[in-house]
């Protein structure tokens, strides 16, 4: 009972403060002073527990492309570490992205800024590039997936994907986002070495817009809902 009374008084005080600004612009200064003094201020979550931090679970990438001695994995006490090349140095002049290595590897090859060897020894062997797009319609509202063979065969041999990861037949493979995020199918490479799966990269794979008249299919529970 007493608890309820306290809560009532508390909320009354709070609503008074909240409604004060509406009383007029010339009262705003008094309002600020009252707010600072009012016990209602104590209700701010951060004051109650230090566990309530902003962005509790957000992990942000700090200082990408750090030089080896500062990257947290190379041992700075090892002499060799200091001879290794800092990534930033070798990325100069390469097209950039906002994720992964922060290098657009596809563009780098397309613009002939890079030409990595296709053979261990010979630098004259060229890859067998196959220009074949496979469209994978997606049930969800995101754009359909276009798998481009061209960019892949610039880097990879057919045998890297066929048949171990994908049966070479359109639509024969079951692919979904959960599998990819866990490192299967496209996720064997994407999210590990090729560009990562982040909000900034969804549209690289999901690149074919849905037809204008497309709308997401309604779930059974909604269709059968008697109150609809």
């Amino acid at each position: 009972m007493r608890q309820q009374l306290k809560t009532f008084i508390g909320s009354a005080a709070l609503s008074l403060i909240v409604s004060l600004p509406a009383a007029g612009a010339d009262m705003s200064r008094i309002n600020v002073m009252q707010q600072a003094a009012a016990p209602a201020e104590r209700l701010i979550v951060a004051d109650v527990s230090s566990a309530n931090t902003f962005n509790r679970n957000l992990k942000k990438e700090k200082d990408p492309n750090a030089p080896p001695p500062e990257d947290g994995y190379h041992d700075p006490e090892n002499e060799g570490t200091h001879i290794l090349q800092p990534p930033k140095e070798s990325y100069i002049g390469l097209p950039t992205t906002e994720f992964g290595n922060h290098v657009d590897w596809v563009k780098a090859i397309d613009e002939k800024k890079l030409s990595p060897r296709w053979d261990r020894i010979s630098s004259s062997e060229a890859p067998f590039v196959m220009d074949l797009d496979i469209v994978r319609p997606v049930k969800a509202s995101v754009p359909d997936v276009v798998f481009p063979h061209r960019q892949h065969t610039e880097w990879l041999a057919c045998a890297n994907c066929h048949p171990a990861i994908f049966i070479p037949q359109k639509g024969a493979n079951q692919i979904n986002m959960s599998a990819i995020l866990l490192g299967q199918k496209c996720g064997v490479c994407h999210g590990k070495v090729s560009f990562p799966i982040t909000t900034k990269t969804c549209s690289k794979c999901h690149s074919k817009p849905k037809p204008a008249d497309w709308s997401p299919p309604l779930s059974d529970a909604t269709l059968k809902n008697p109150w609809r």
Partner: protein
């Protein structure tokens, strides 16, 4: 000289301090290693060598994936190729190139063995590591480092 365990008798106090400081740092700042760097530590630690850091970014500037993952038979799995020094000096895996012909040779131990001791085998920056809630993992699955 080659082993980081040398003169540990003098340094053990500092090591403990270092580990504590390191843990505190790890808890505060996420590692900033380059995306796709592979730390290989199946055997290195146990043999008193630093773990191996393999930089994908550095090698893909020079070679397409096909050279290693098709021609040289590297499987797509960090630690999955069970690389050993015996295989390397036999001309397999890293030894197909780090032989003094295609690239500097195997005597440069500390160029490859450059990781912080104790770092588990993994590929840095992977999407799985960035998931807020860890995916299902079998009890005997190898450890992934906390980021």
């Amino acid at each position: 000289m080659m082993s980081y365990k040398a003169d540990r008798s003098i340094k053990w106090r500092f090591s403990i301090l270092g580990v504590l400081a390191g843990l505190a740092l790890l808890a505060m700042t996420p590692a900033k290693a380059e995306y796709a760097d592979v730390i290989i530590n199946n055997y290195a630690d146990a043999a008193g060598m630093r773990p191996v850091v393999f930089p994908h970014w550095f090698h893909r500037i020079r070679f397409r994936c096909k050279v290693c993952h098709a021609d040289l038979g590297f499987q797509f799995k960090a630690g999955g190729n069970k690389i050993t020094m015996a295989k390397i000096i036999d001309g397999k895996f890293c030894g197909a190139c780090h032989n003094g012909e295609v690239a500097w040779s195997v005597e440069n131990c500390n160029m490859c063995h450059s990781g912080i001791p104790g770092t588990p085998t993994h590929i840095h920056g992977s999407t799985v590591q960035r998931l807020v809630s860890p995916p299902y993992k079998a009890l005997n699955a190898p450890q992934q480092p906390q980021q």
